[in-house]
Amino acid sequence: MDPALPLPDPSPTRSVDPVATFDQVGVRYGSQWALNDVTATFPRGAVGLLGPNGAGKSTLIKSLLGLVAPNRGRIEVLGLDAARAALEIRGRVGYMPETDAYIPGMNAVTFVSYCGQLCGLPRADAIQRAHEVLYYTGLGEARYRNVETYSTGMKQRIKLAQALVHDPELLFLDEPTNGMDPKGRDEMLALVRDLAYDKGISLVLSSHVLPDVEYVCRHVVVMDKGQVATYGPIDALKGPKGRVFEVRIKGDEAAFVAVLHAAGLESHRTDEDVMRVFVPEPRSWRDLFVLADQGGMQVRHLRPSVPTLEDVFARAVGEEDRESWTTSTE
């Protein structure tokens, strides 16, 4: 998988644009607001859904499916009110859950065709579609095996197959590469990308793996603590190129961060021993030396970098949440 590979132009989709909108939506579990005043638009094409654990991503997807009724606000999916037309919406969307989910005692063909019938396909059509999508998802040779005997990667593929069997207009993919080996992950992402850009299926991709989202999606919605931290086209959120620098200093790093913030510069730590600093116009990299000098520190490493989705995520959810997210994905 080459993350730098440019995204192709999407083929014409059958879905409306935007595919989903949230208007001041609140979802409460007991006294806890899982979604709080969420307002966002999911445009046609591939949209990434990001956020640390407990940010409300899964609740958001279940709200889109009409499985969770919002306590306030309004959700529209494919132009339909999710509260009133949940069944029609579910007939036009596909959902790939995060956890292993299958029906015991069935082989792949039976399982996928059963899911097709549940979506209203006649039995003969459902069986034919099951064979097709199983080949498409790479399970053609294993389609008569009991699903319970599948490996983790194969279970991910069968979840995608059951979500595709009825030819949905919109797909919700919850952590589709979880537990897959690198080769399987690349193949899964290639499939997802193919669906979004060649087959005209809009999709919402929820993932912890930022490169996966960047590889597939043009737009992103970042959730944090039940709210939308930021959303929009990834390129626009990244900001202009050449304004991000990797910096390593000699001295009190916390004090340097404080100096940067006082000067209006954002920064966040990385997994390496460097920090990433965003330098807005009209400032330049020279200001970093000046600020370090003012704080009694020395810049020992300075390298221009390109803005990444991780930068967008870090700016949106803050340093603390970014670290907890990093820990949870390790």
Binding site: L67, E88, L121, E132, Y136, G140
Partner: protein, 279 residues
């Protein structure tokens, strides 16, 4: 032979409107159970009482010496009471894993992400039980009635006991509804079908034992509503216009059964969800 591309193709065929998913669930469940030869053997054995009763009808119709075998409404009542053993076994066999297995494999979120409601899901599962349980209660009982008409060559018995048709239907339905709802409610509580089976058996034996103890202690059968089995038997007796075997008022037995079914419905509404909220 046509060569199909192995890529993804849009589907342009027909789609049935929503509201029929329960039929898909029932049909798939029935196919799955019928595929088990051991179960088919059990179903055949469950029909043995029907054959015995058919022989009884044949003897009573053709041999005046066998008048002690004459059939009456009580014959059909007794037949259904005997079938309750098979109802119990089939309920445990088929029903214990119906929801528990789905819970174990997270299948509920697959089902409920499709255009089907929770009621359709439960309805589909109930349908599976209904098919097999009615096959060992209502179907053979009605066939016995038909057999009587055919072997005697007269509709006199049927005409004189026409109420047997609704009686068989009501008694069968009570037995099947109570068994089905109870096992499904228990099945929604656990991810282990074995645990559900043991709990279901425990529920029936325990309530029967409690009633037995009360009966022995008080010498009265007024509290038969404590036992699920006794409550169903009491309703069956009344449906067949037979003297009730317990002193319990019919209303108490009906209320006990209704409360049990209502409780099962409430549990199913509570447990069958696509979203599990962990506080």
């Amino acid at each position: 032979m046509p060569i199909h591309p192995e890529g993804y193709r849009p589907y342009r065929g027909a789609r049935t409107p929503s509201g029929r998913s329960w039929l898909v669930v029932t049909a798939a469940g029935v196919r799955s159970v019928v595929g088990n030869r051991l179960f088919l053997g059990l179903m055949l054995i469950a029909w043995a009482p029907f054959l015995i009763r058919a022989v009884q009808i044949y003897a009573s119709v053709n041999f005046p010496q066998a008048s002690f075998l004459d059939i009456s409404a009580a014959t059909f009542r007794d037949f259904l009471s005997q079938q309750s053993l098979w109802v119990f076994i089939i309920t445990v066999w088929v029903g214990a894993g119906l929801i528990a297995n789905d819970m174990r494999s997270n299948a509920l979120q697959v089902y409920l992400s499709k255009p089907m409601t929770r009621a359709e899901y439960v309805g589909g599962k109930l349908g599976i039980l209904f098919v097999f349980l009615m096959c060992v209660t209502w179907v053979p009982a009605i066939l016995l009635l038909v057999t009587q008409v055919l072997l005697s060559g007269s509709v006199a018995f049927l005409a004189a006991n026409l109420y047997l048709i609704p009686a068989i239907t009501v008694a069968s339905l009570v037995l099947v509804v109570v068994s089905s709802f109870t096992i499904l409610a228990l099945s929604s509580f656990s991810k282990s079908a074995r645990f559900v089976a043991v709990t279901y058996a425990g529920l029936f034996f325990f309530t029967q034992a409690v009633f037995g103890v009360v009966r022995a202690g008080t010498g009265s059968t007024t509290l038969s509503w404590l036992s699920v089995t006794a409550s169903v038997d009491q309703i069956t007796d009344v449906a067949f216009r037979q003297p009730p075997r317990f002193e319990t008022p019919l209303g108490a037995s009906v209320a006990a059964v209704a409360v049990l079914v209502a409780l099962a419905v409430w549990i199913l509404r509570w447990r069958v969800r696509a979203v599990e909220v962990v506080s």
